[in-house]
Amino acid sequence: MLERVIIAGFGGQGVIFAGKLLAQAMMAEGRNVTYFPAYGPEVRGGRAHCHVVVSSDEIFSPVIARPDTLIVMNQISWDYFAPSLSPEGVAVVNSTMVATGPAGIPGRLIPVPAAEIANELGDVRVTNMIMLGAYNHARSLLPLDRLLEHLRSALADRKAALYELNCQAVRKGVEAAAAALAAPR
């Protein structure tokens, strides 16, 4: 098993947290993982992205040239990363904010109106969990309850309500992905 994910968006969308949660969760599941963030002045002006590699074997490079999965939350990131997606890859895209364009991409596109859903849930900051839920479902990574368990331990020292909200977001993401997958390709 080898899964290379790039998560990208702007500051405030929770890119970093989603990436770390994914890595942490998969480590707990006994996989090898690496997590690699963008850092330095790149992240001024609100850009953010990170690379997560999950594998049952040794991981060589933590930096992903051809992602298996893209989780993209805004247009700039889409424009930048979309061409690198591997042909068999999956792109989970915040369709509220990203116009993927008519050209299409090599891999499979999973549009998730995450910003809209987040708005409905009353907090933009859960965009990340909606996207993560969708991704998890689309890639059949983990049983949902396991993912939520890892989420709970990641939020262990925060308020319970926060966990609940994030849980809901994950579930909404799952639903959205299911809908997208059900849609004709």
């Binding site: 002045p41 001024r44 002006g45 609100g46």
Partner: protein, 256 residues
């Protein structure tokens, strides 16, 4: 149609890399406005710091260099010595100027080199992710003072203007801030006077700006402005610390 305000010529039109509400942008604009006003763009040479403003040269349309962290005062002093016809300035953050560059700051001031130093005091290391600066306020939390700056453990906030005002070299030193339109207007006058100290008096000048870093203060831009006004100005009082024009004031001697 009459233009009431237009971006200054010296400020290149492009998206900056600064965070929303960052004071660097205001300071850049003021410098650009004054350079335009004084008509010195063609003979100005600046030095960008190592700090969030390291890319200042992307925004200011003058000849610029980008020297090592903290050494810009000596760099522009040297430029001025070999090209006295130029107007030079050093743009620096608090880490750059008051930590690693302490010695350069003091000795350039002490020699009264006819250079203008713009000192952006945002009480934090912005570029490197929000560590303590020499100017960080007591109790302020930063990456390297996770429980707040403690005078005994981490040292006291350094007041640069007061420190330099003990030297004979400087001709003009002022501390300003950017917290409201009046303050910004005063800051603009200080920028102008800083350049004029160099041009007319051949003297050393330093303008300190108390400037917001909303990102690493973890405040909204307007909150950050209020923090400066309410808290920072107590530790860093605004005002003129040296003025060669003030009657009876101690005047920095200038180079022959």
């Amino acid at each position: 149609m009459k233009t009431l305000y237009e971006r200054p010529d010296t400020l290149r039109r492009c998206l900056t890399h600064y965070c929303a509400g960052c004071g660097h942008g205001i300071v850049h604009r003021l410098i650009a406005e004054v350079v335009d006003e004084l008509g010195i763009r063609g003979r100005t040479v600046g030095a960008a710091p190592v700090g969030c403003a390291v890319l200042a040269h992307q925004y200011l349309k003058v000849d610029m260099c980008e020297p090592a962290h903290g050494r810009t005062p000596e760099v522009v002093a040297a430029i001025k010595r070999v090209r006295p016809e130029c107007v030079v300035f050093s743009y620096q953050g608090d880490g750059d100027l008051a930590a690693i560059g302490t010695a350069e700051t003091i000795h350039v001031a002490n020699r009264g080199e006819p250079v203008t130093v713009f000192f952006v005091n945002n009480a934090v290391y912005g570029m490197t992710g929000g560590q303590m600066a020499p100017t960080t306020m007591l109790t302020q939390r930063t990456t390297t003072t996770p429980t707040g700056r403690d005078a005994g453990y981490h040292g006291h906030p350094i007041r640069v203007c007061e420190l330099l005002a003990t030297l004979d070299g400087p001709a003009y030193i002022e501390r300003v801030t950017l917290t409201n339109p009046d303050r910004v207007r005063q800051a603009r006058r200080a920028v102008r006077k800083g350049f004029l100290t160099q041009i007319e008096r051949n003297g050393y000048s330093l303008v300190e700006f108390l400037s917001p870093c909303p990102t690493y203060w973890r405040m909204a831009p307007i909150e950050a402005m209020r923090f400066i006004e309410d808290e920072m100005t107590k530790v860093y009082p605004l005002g003129v610390f040296r003025d060669w024009e003030a009657p009876g004031a101690a005047k920095g001697k200038t180079r022959k």
